[in-house]
Amino acid sequence: MTTLALYSNKGGVGKTTAAVNLAYLAAQSGYTTLLCDLDPQAAATFYFRVKPKLKADARGLVGVRKELERSIKASDYTGLDILPADFSHRNLDITFDRSKRSRQRLGSALKRLRREYDLIVLDCPPTINILAENIFNASDHLLVPVIPTTLSVRTFEQLLSFLAENKHDLKQVSAFFSMVDRRKNLHKQVMSEMYEQFSNVMQNPIPTLSQIELMGVYREPVSAFSPRSAAARAYKALWSELKEKKMFS
C-alpha cells in the first residue's frame, strides 16, 4: 500500500480537485483507493455527495481506529472509498497533544487499512501544525501543488527546508504546477526557473480551466463527468506520470 498526500501550506491552490481526480483515476485503473478528507472545509466530501455525519459516536467508547473503519463510505465509483471530513474533524486535530506518539497517530490509524487499500490519498488542510506532522509521518509521498508565482515558489522552498530540518523520512516530495495560465508570461517564466532549480517537479501541469470549477456543480470528479475534456486529460497525464515514476507499489 502507498500513501500519497496532497499537501500545501497555502490554501486555494487546487489541492482538493487534484486529490479527488487522482483518487478517481487510481480507482479506475484498478487500485483499491481510499480518499481521506482531512480538511475541515470538507470539499472532497462534498464533491462525492457524502452527507456529513450529524450524530457523533460517543467519544471514548470506540477508539480512533475503530471509528475510522466505521466512518469510511463507498463512493459512487467502484474501488474508491471516502473517509469523510467529519472523521478527522472529530478525531484528529483536537486530540493531538505534543507527545511523540501523537505525531504518529494518523499513521498508526491508517496502518490498519494496509491490507484493504492499494492506495490512500490524503487531502490535507493548509496548515503546518501537529496535523501536518502527522501527515508527513503517515505518507510515502508528498505531492505539492504550486501555482507558478514567485510567492508560491518561496512557500515550496520553505516547506522543503521545514521537512529537512525536522528530519522527515519522506521517500519523495514532488511538486506539480497547478492553476497554470499559459497566457501569463510570469507563469511561463516561473515554471522554467523551477524546472531548472528542482528535479522533483512533475512535467504535467494542471491548467486553470472552467471545467474544473464545474465540479462543484456536478459534484463529481471532472474525470468522471467529462472524461474527454482538457481538464480530465491534464489529470490523466499527471496520474500517468506518477505511475511511471513507480510511486505505487
Binding site: V50, S71, I72, K73, A74, D81, E116
Partner: protein
C-alpha cells in the same frame, strides 16, 4: 407487477446500461478455493479472487494466457492470498459463462448512491439469456458506510416477495451446473463413513476402495505433469493401502493379504525418485536462502542436475503407469475389493470393526509409549527413525477409523500426535536430505569450476542441516513427554480402552 415498477414506486434510482462479461472460473483439482468459499474468475484481462461470504475482493491484471500456478500471477495481494490457499496446486478453468449485470443505483436526496440493486443473468456457451438453461437473480450490493440502506432495501424487497441471492455464490453455482461440474468431485481426504457394528472385512474394503479411487483419480495429473500434488496424493493413497493391509489384521486370508502387500510395496517404490526430485526442487529457494551471500548462486549446478534427472524420472513413472502390468495389478485389486464379504475367510473378518479399531489403536499407542520411553535414555538415531514409522502407523489407524469416534476428540488426538510426528519427521528428513545432497554432489563433474563451487556450497548446507538436526533431537524429549503424559494416556484409554476394567495402557 415486475420489480422495476415496484422499485419506481418506492425509490429514486438510476439504471446503468447493462454490461455483459465472459467469466472464466478457476479452481484446483481438489477444489481448494471452493472449500474456502472463494472464487477465482477471469473477465478479459482482469482476475478477481472473491470471498463468497461477501468479504474482500483481490484484483490483478494479466494479459495473455491463463496462469497455472500462484507464482504465475503478478506480485501483489491476490497472489499472496491465492498462494496461501492453493500452494503448489495448479489451477484449471472449471467453467465459462456469460454474465449480464444491470445495476440500479438507489439514490438519497443528495443524489448520492447508497445501495445497488443488481439483476444478474447467467448463461452458458451457446445458450441465450432467458434461455432454457440460463439463470437470473436479484441481489443487493452493500456499499461501505451505507449498510443500513442495503438492509432496508433487502427487507422491503423480501416483504414484496422477491428472494435475494448472494450474487457471486449464485453465479458460481449456476456456472458449475451449466458446465456439468460437481463440487468436490475429488478430495484427497480419506472420508469413509464407517458404522461401529460393520463387519471388519467390509470396513477394510470400504477404506481400501476409497483409496483406490484416489489412486486412479491422480494418474492422469501425474502423467500430464500438471502439478506435483497429484503424485503426492497418489503416493499417500498407495502407502495408506499398504498400511491398511498390514494394520487391519486378520480380515482377509493371509495369502491374499501377503500377495497384495507385496504388490503395493512395488507400487510404492516406482515413484520414489520422482517424488524425491520434486521435494528437492521445491526446496531450491529455501536452500539458497540458507547460503551466505557470496555462495547464493553456487548451488545452481546441483539443481540443474536434479532438473535434468526429473525429466527422466517422470518418463519412467509415466511408462509404468501406462504399462499392462500396472493395469493388471490394479484391476486385480479392484476385483478383490468387489468380492462378496460373506465368507469368513479370516479370523477377524466378521468381528465388528469398532472392536478391532479400538484394539489396533490401543496396541499401537502402547507400543509408541514404550519405544519412546526407551529412547529417552538411549537417544540413538536409528531408534528415532523407527519410532517415526510407528507414529505414522498410529496416524493411519486414527485416520482410517476417524468416523467411528467423536470428531472433536479425534481431532485433538491427531493434533497431539502430529506434534510428535513433526519432530521425528524433521529429524528424519534432515538425515535423508544430507545423504541425498552429498550423493548428488558426488555425481557432479569435479573438473568443472562451477561444480567445485557447488560442492563447497553443498558442504555448507549439509553442515547447517547437521546443526539443525542436533536441535531437533534435543527437542524430542520434551515433545515425547507431552505425548506420553498421564493425561494423554488416560484420553487414549477412555476412547480406545477394551472396556474390561480400568486397565492402565
Amino acid at each position: 407487477m415486475d420489480f422495476e415498477t415496484w422499485l419506481a414506486d418506492n425509490y429514486e434510482f438510476v439504471v446503468e446500461a447493462p454490461g455483459v462479461d465472459a467469466w472464466r472460473i478457476f479452481d484446483t483439482f481438489d477444489w481448494l478455493l471452493f472449500n474456502r468459499a472463494m472464487m477465482l474468475r477471469r473477465t478479459g484481462s482482469e482476475f478477481a479472487l472473491v470471498a463468497l461470504n461477501g468479504g474482500t475482493i483481490r484484483n490483478c491484471e494479466i494479459r495473455g494466457g491463463d496462469p497455472v500456478f500462484a507464482r504465475d500471477f503478478p506480485e501483489g495481494v491476490l497472489r499472496s492470498d491465492l498462494a496461501r490457499i492453493i500452494n503448489e496446486r495448479a489451477l484449471f478453468p472449471l467453467a465459462e459463462v456469460y454474465v449480464e449485470e444491470t445495476s440500479y443505483r438507489i439514490l438519497d436526496d443528495e443524489q448520492k448512491t447508497v445501495a445497488r440493486l443488481i439483476r444478474t443473468q447467467v448463461r452458458g456457451e451457446g445458450d441465450e439469456f432467458g434461455g432454457a438453461d440460463s439463470a437470473s437473480f436479484l441481489g443487493v450490493r452493500t456499499l461501505r458506510g451505507y449498510e443500513k440502506h442495503a438492509r432496508r432495501l433487502a427487507k422491503e424487497l423480501a416483504a414484496w416477495g422477491e428472494g435475494l441471492n448472494s450474487m457471486d455464490e449464485a453465479i458460481l453455482l449456476s456456472a458449475l451446473r451449466m458446465a456439468g461440474q460437481t463440487p468436490n468431485s475429488y478430495s484427497s481426504r480419506l472420508d469413509v463413513r464407517l458404522k461401529p457394528e460393520m463387519r471388519a472385512d467390509a470396513a477394510a474394503r470400504a477404506i481400501m476402495q476409497r483409496l483406490l479411487e484416489t489412486i486412479r483419480a491422480n494418474e492422469e495429473g501425474i502423467k500430464a505433469d500438471t502439478d506435483i500434488e497429484f503424485l503426492h496424493d497418489y503416493r499417500i493413497a498407495v502407502r495408506r493401502t499398504r498400511s491398511a493391509l498390514s494394520l487391519i489384521k486378520g480380515v482377509f486370508s493371509p495369502e491374499m493379504t501377503d500377495h497384495f502387500k507385496q504388490e503395493f510395496r512395488t507400487l510404492g517404490k516406482f515413484t520414489n525418485d520422482l517424488r524425491d526430485l520434486d521435494v528437492y526442487l521445491l526446496a531450491e529457494e529455501g536452500y539458497r536462502a540458507q547460503l551466505p551471500g557470496a555462495m547464493k548462486n553456487d548451488i545452481a549446478p546441483l539443481f540443474d542436475y536434479l532438473r535434468a534427472h526429473r525429466v527422466v524420472a517422470l518418463d519412467a513413472v509415466t511408462e509404468t503407469l501406462e504399462s499392462e502390468a500396472y493395469a493388471r495389478t490394479l484391476d486385480e485389486w479392484a476385483a478383490f475389493l468387489n468380492e462378496s464379504t460373506a465368507v469368513d475367510s479370516a479370523v477377524n473378518a466378521s468381528q465388528p470393526i469398532i472392536s478391532l479399531a479400538r484394539k489396533r489403536i490401543r496396541k499401537q499407542y502402547q507400543r509408541i509409549v514404550q519405544d519412546g520411553s526407551f529412547i529417552l535414555s538411549h537417544t540413538e538415531d536409528e531408534l528415532l527413525h523407527a519410532l517415526r514409522i510407528e507414529c505414522k502407523k498410529l496416524r493411519y489407524l486414527l485416520e482410517f477409523f476417524e468416523s467411528l469416534f467423536p470428531p472433536r476428540k479425534m481431532g485433538q488426538l491427531i493434533k497431539q500426535l502430529k506434534r510428535l510426528q513433526d519432530n521425528l519427521g524433521e529429524f528424519s528428513d534432515l538425515t535423508v536430505q544430507q545423504n541425498y545432497l552429498l550423493a548428488v554432489a558426488e555425481a557432479l563433474d569435479i573438473d568443472e569450476v562451477l561444480a567445485r563451487r557447488a560442492l563447497v556450497s553443498t558442504g555448507f548446507l549439509v553442515e547447517t542441516m547437521a546443526r539443525r538436526q542436533q536441535e531437533v533431537k534435543s527437542e524430542f524429549a520434551g515433545t515425547f513427554t507431552k505425548f506420553a503424559s498421564p493425561a494423554h494416556q488416560r484420553q487414549f484409554h477412555r476412547l480406545f480402552g477394551s472396556g474390561k476394567g480400568r486397565r492402565k495402557i
